[in-house]
Symmetry: C2
Subunit: 325 residues, 2 copies
DNA sequence: TTGAAAGCGCTACCAA
DNA sequence: TTGGTAGCGCTTTCAA
């Protein structure tokens, strides 16, 4: 049996309701008493029983995170950040990797204060009980809970526009052209730029990759570089693809940005891994995280929240891009 | 307020202790009564309050998983498998990505039935309260809780021995030669084979990679294939490295296994992605998972458990290896 | 400033 | 086979 407040009360010679107050740092307890109780609690290795506490106080200070697809690196970075920020707000984060429906059930049984769902499928999830839900995914349907989405199309659109403005007329996009909705949005932004600039389609090229690994970017870029009319700028759909493309460019003895400018779609700003930091476009991870925390706190406190939150991308240009004449 | 057993009791016209029994499918309740109660519970969207339940029954049917490093793919596969198997045993899995110490605190406050820790650092963790701990990591020290480890050294040793027996005299190892303890063990097994076979060291080559991605394997293999005396067999430290090596081999117009035999260290058996399935060596993932569940159930039921569980690797040979003369 | 006591939702025991 | 009730560990009144 673990230590309870009654054990502390007995040991400290006070009533257990006083112990409860002292542990919550209530102003109703005198400093010496409080100190004594704290000391005893520490010595006994007391850990509060969350079950009992949330049973009476109706608050668990816990956020349930539903994360059925644990392999994506972007998500793992984002979740790590969110976890850290919630910790600072003295919230505990618990993750379930079960499918959305059963994870929701689990968390509602655990009476968490809110549930954060990461789900790229477009299904509307329905809540059990009255635990508020916040979702990360595609904000296309009308949902009864807030959905946080990022504007991928605008990101690639912005990047292509920028490269055009810098004088580039042969721009290639490396990405999953036939991929899921998320990937298609990126392609769409690129295509939209072509259309608006009234350029011949051959001056904009899309290279399809099947995976998002460094090697796929490498292969795709290799292919581009052997072209008679090779691109002066490359836009990649992800960070790893960009890394691969960089390798291919170096192997061909070309230099960045003199021979080729490169921008990567990504949510991590300032990728300083390389000799030349990579230009990126996308919604910065910390802004997504910040927004998520904000929405979570709002739903927990029963405040009004818009149900579609569409975050705007930012273009961060470094020395990996240059003007050409 | 969510619905409680009292709401169900009122609605069904029975006492709430009967409801409690019915919901737990107790034989003490008559079938018709049970059916009625179930129907009402369903209709009302009842979800049991785990806090209240575990407060009285001292059992939460929940396993806390401590997973501070969420990026590793092997772990995510393993945890997914474990999660699934626990679900079938009607246990709920909750994951924390906080650092070990604070995660342990969280789970002990939640009164989980057991905590599963994934930690490759060699620190001994000390439990709060009396929640039993099972660890996945390096079984080198004496610990007060069971640690499950896999024999990496024996794996690469076995593979090298096998390749030798098949007539190979020029064998290369691609892996993180300067890496952490886990990686070094793999290298050690390879070196041990050289030693025991009393071979000149030049006939066994180690190629160092900095990362474990496909591209790194590709680069390393490229390097090997340009050698005057190129290896007849390659052993890689991971699946992704093997994939890269395969790419390099194909690009060089060499064939597997006729020109080069290849074995990968890995815990996933039967990697059928390729034209030729890859030979692997390592402890199969499902065996690790099975063992983990077994140990978890034992500690939960207070049974005796050995504190060092060292799992033996298996060599699975496919057409990616051949005998040479 | 402290203590006593009610009650959160549930299980488990005993009585009916 | 059902109902009544004590009590899990805690917070939160209210009384002392």
């Amino acid at each position: 049996m673990s230590v309870t407040i009654k054990d502390i009360a007995k040991s400290a010679g006070v009533s257990y309701s006083t112990v409860s107050k002292a542990l919550r740092d209530s102003p109703l307890v005198k400093k010496p008493t409080k100190d004594l109780i704290m000391a005893v609690a520490n010595e006994l290795g007391y850990q509060p029983n969350i079950a009992a506490r949330s049973l009476v106080s109706k608050k668990s200070f816990t956020i349930g995170v539903v994360w059925p697809t644990i392999e994506q690196t972007v998500l793992s970075k984002l979740i790590t950040t969110i976890n850290k920020e919630l910790e600072e707000l003295s919230y505990t984060t618990l993750i379930s990797i079960n499918e959305v429906k059963s994870a929701l059930k689990i968390f509602s049984r655990y009476q968490v204060d809110a549930i954060l769902v990461f789900d790229s499928s477009q299904s509307i999830v329905s809540s059990y009980s009255d635990v508020p839900i916040v979702m990360h995914g595609l904000a296309n349907k009308q949902t009864p809970y807030p959905v946080i989405d990022v504007n991928r199309q605008k990101a690639t659109y912005q990047a292509a526009q920028y490269l055009y403005k810098m004088g580039h007329r042969y721009i290639s996009y490396i990405g999953d052209v036939e991929g899921d909705k998320l990937q298609k949005e990126k392609v769409k932004g690129f295509e939209q730029a072509i259309l608006e600039l009234e350029l011949p389609t051959y001056s904009f090229q899309k290279i399809r990759v099947n995976n998002f690994e460094q090697y796929d970017g490498y292969e795709a870029a290799k292919q581009l570089l052997t072209l008679a009319k090779r691109p002066t700028a490359i836009l990649t759909g992800s960070y790893d693809l960009a890394r691969g493309a960089l390798q291919a460019i170096y192997e061909s003895n070309l230099s960045i940005p003199n021979d080729i400018s490169i921008i990567s779609y990504d949510n991590f700003p300032a990728l300083e891994h390389f000799d030349i930091p990579l230009s990126t476009v996308g919604v910065p991870l910390d802004k997504i995280s910040e927004k998520t925390i904000e929405i979570l706190m709002k739903v927990i406190n029963d405040e009004e929240v818009e149900t579609k939150i569409f975050m705007e991308p930012e273009l961060k240009i470094t020395n990996s891009c240059t003007k050409i004449s």
